[in-house]
Symmetry: C2
Subunit: 463 residues, 2 copies
């Protein structure tokens, strides 16, 4: 046989710690602000929503945090995930570049999301929490948390945007199979939901409304906490097992460290998962691995947004976070990569971008699917629409290498499969996917609406 | 960490040969008969439909047949597949039995089917075939063949039962993503299709019609061959890589050989895949591993059918094969496990059952989903409805062991995931799944219609 396609690790080679990049950042992320007073807030403000251990992790400056044995035991249901050498794709693209991809689609819910859902459910269980609430759009995050809660025998209430609840039964059924309670949002279970239903009984719902419902239920019940699938520091940290495994696997294959690392970018969790362990090598060993976030042209916060304090939600209820943002009221086009439609980037990612430690590029939906279909035909795996953005970045890098006559090593985080997204592929083949490049006017209009504190104003105040 | 959950093999530990059980059978399978003359036919009769190498394999008595390197190279995209110790399930069932499952859902199309689709496409390519036709119901087989044809750059024409084509777009899109041409059947591309459409333009189609179309296209075109996903000897043989890997993995885990091996049973290919290598140990080393086929109560050919010559298709165009059958005109209830609705069992399986080398039991759809949901909650993986039948058999064996106070080792072939079958789970949770036990009258009526030659008449004639 020719060289291996897959580089696998044994369960006992699984990393034992998460990597906390804050330890190595020359400029630490700025603190969150109280949404009303706009004063910096401490971790205690998060206590109604999250268990103490996750709050500690959110503000920790420890370089490595041990992964509990019970969490690693559940991880072992699918981890370590395979690293593939994309030999077929290299051949199809006729390139001398070496392409590797880390495949997170082997998890029970089919994406990287369980990497944080499992420890979140675990720490809640340890602190006696009986129920976790969350919101979900198409269902990627909700299904991961449903699986994780079942593993630790916690109730899971998922508020699913009503239009997805009605139109996307597959992931809803997946959540119910794992024992979760799935409610179409808005629901009549919360004050927030009741109010919206009173105004418009036929509303399709939105992720913002679903967040409000999930947070309200957690904030008003003693035995209930809330869980978030991206953006926050602890969530990003839990994902670093991806990149740590990849480094071990490249070593095992006798491969060079990558010149470029690519991942799709929504709130930042799968990008952080693969990139942070490589940035660790840059920050502590002087390596120069370029980590590039692939965001959609319809929500280009990293490439066209501003670095500013902004709310995490649409309504403006969450703490203000320092983020590259298009404004919390910005509504991106309804692209199929629902996981990438977020208006802002987490605090760590934003600081890293501001300081020049990571790069970003915007990919159009059409370009992403063109690349994704070619990837599927070469490598067999049909990527999730989110993942297609990073696949397109790999294709661009291959083109650039050809022009420059170089043979770089490229690493891609293939964060999930597209089994539940085949209708998106149907739209692609039917020629229904439209480019979604924002005009300069649209961007300026969005940014013009932002009235939250500037980074400078807070830095000056903090002294 | 506690013991491993997964037992994995490196690509270079992948079996190098398929195992041909015919070599070790004391009674070889009886020959097929010409559908018109009812005289035994030789391999040359298959030449219009299949490439020579597959025809040779169909009648080979060699014990092991080498897997071509190019086929193993494609297998390596997902093989060797993991063997899991179902520790969570054991705990949930509170059993001292050891439960292992071999998971074939990691393949690109999500089931064991590519194990034969890949070599079939390969041998066709080697013999200059430009196009392969096949039929598909829900799309499990069609998607596997689409993937395999793309790997060897062969055109793939899939005739998909019209009602599935209209109602189940996910797998259709999967096939198209891999470059296949998918036609709703009946189509106006074939004489068979045209005739049926002329009679009833709104027909929902059937697997029998789709077979007729696919066969007609292959039989009437020089550059086109036909491909079948189960039943035939060479198809079953290609699947034996599953059981061979499992034996290596049990050895690696230091585990005992299983006392029982369970697999769902439709045409026989996934059952053969896991069971034949264990039967090899029974037949050549005196082991006593019990291999049990789990068939649906709605199509109980192994437990309630007769051993008789019968047609492979509904219309009666294929050669007559010796099979346990309910009659080729028998129409089973529309259960969700579409892959198990076939009326008969392949020639090898039938001979093995007649000679007492394998066992079988019938499982009701409701019982199968009850077991499948518990499996999903314990092990994370949501099984395909077909696989749920064998999961239910494992549950029965666990109950029996408790009653008897024994601690057997059980091995399950989890032949595919249920990502594309979530609507079946929806029906289960909605209480819509009904028992489908055939009455004695229904069975007698079905068997009474069979007018094809008895086994005895052919044996007597052959002398």
């Amino acid at each position: 046989m020719t060289d291996s396609r897959k580089i696998t690790l044994h369960e006992n080679e699984m990393p034992t710690h998460w990597y906390n990049i804050i330890h190595d950042m020359p400029n630490k992320p700025l603190p969150p602000l109280n949404p009303a007073t706009r004063e910096p807030i401490g971790p205690e403000a998060l206590a109604p929503l999250f268990p103490m251990e996750l709050i500690k992790q959110e503000v920790s400056q420890e370089q490595f945090i041990e992964i509990p044995e019970e969490v690693r035991d559940i991880y072992a249901m699918w981890r370590p995930t395979p690293l593939f050498r994309a030999r077929n794709l290299e051949k199809m693209l006729d390139t001398s570049a070496k392409i590797y991809y880390k495949y997170e689609g082997v998890s029970p819910s089919g994406s990287h999301k369980p990497n944080t859902a499992v420890p979140q459910a675990y720490y809640n269980m340890k602190e006696g929490v009986k129920r976790i609430t969350t919101e979900t759009g198409a269902g990627q995050w909700g299904s991961a948390l449903s699986f994780a809660c079942k593993a630790f025998d916690i109730e899971c209430d998922v508020y699913m945007v009503r239009i997805s609840f009605d139109q996307k039964p597959y992931r809803k059924m997946m959540m119910q199979t794992w024992g979760a309670n799935v409610f179409p949002s808005p629901s009549d279970r919360t004050q927030a939901g009741q109010k919206i239903l009173a105004d418009d009984p036929n509303t399709p719902g939105s992720l913002g409304i679903a967040i409000s419902e999930a947070v309200e239920m957690a904030a008003t019940r003693e035995d209930t906490k809330y869980s978030l699938g991206s953006v926050l520091n602890h969530v990003l940290m839990h994902q670093t097992i991806i990149g740590q495994e990849a480094i071990k696997q490249l070593e095992k294959a006798g491969a060079d460290l990558p010149d470029y690392v690519f991942a799709p970018f929504g709130g930042g969790s799968n990008f952080a998962g693969i990139a942070f362990p490589f940035l660790h090598l840059n920050l502590t060993e002087g390596k120069t691995i370029q980590c590039i976030a692939s965001e959609p042209t319809s929500a280009p916060k990293l490439t066209r947004g501003v670095f500013r304090y902004d709310f995490g939600d649409t309504v403006g209820m969450t703490p203000l976070l320092p983020m590259y943002t298009l404004g919390h009221t910005f509504v991106p086009a309804k692209i199929h990569a629902g996981g990438l439609r977020y208006h802002g980037a987490g605090a760590i990612i934003s600081q890293l971008l501001a300081d020049g430690f990571i790069g970003a590029e915007a990919i159009d939906q059409l370009e992403s699917f063109e690349a994704g279909v070619q990837f599927a035909q070469a490598e067999g795996i049909i990527p999730a629409p989110e993942a297609n953005h990073a696949v397109a970045s790999v294709f661009r890098a291959v083109e650039k290498a050809k022009e420059e006559g170089t043979s770089p090593t490229l690493l891609l985080n293939l964060c999930g499969h597209g089994n539940f997204d085949m209708l998106a592929y149907q739209d692609y083949f039917a020629g229904k996917l439209e480019p979604h490049e924002l005009s300069q006017n649209e961007v300026e209009e969005a940014l013009g609406k932002i009235d939250t504190p500037t980074i400078k104003s807070v830095v000056d105040k903090l002294g």
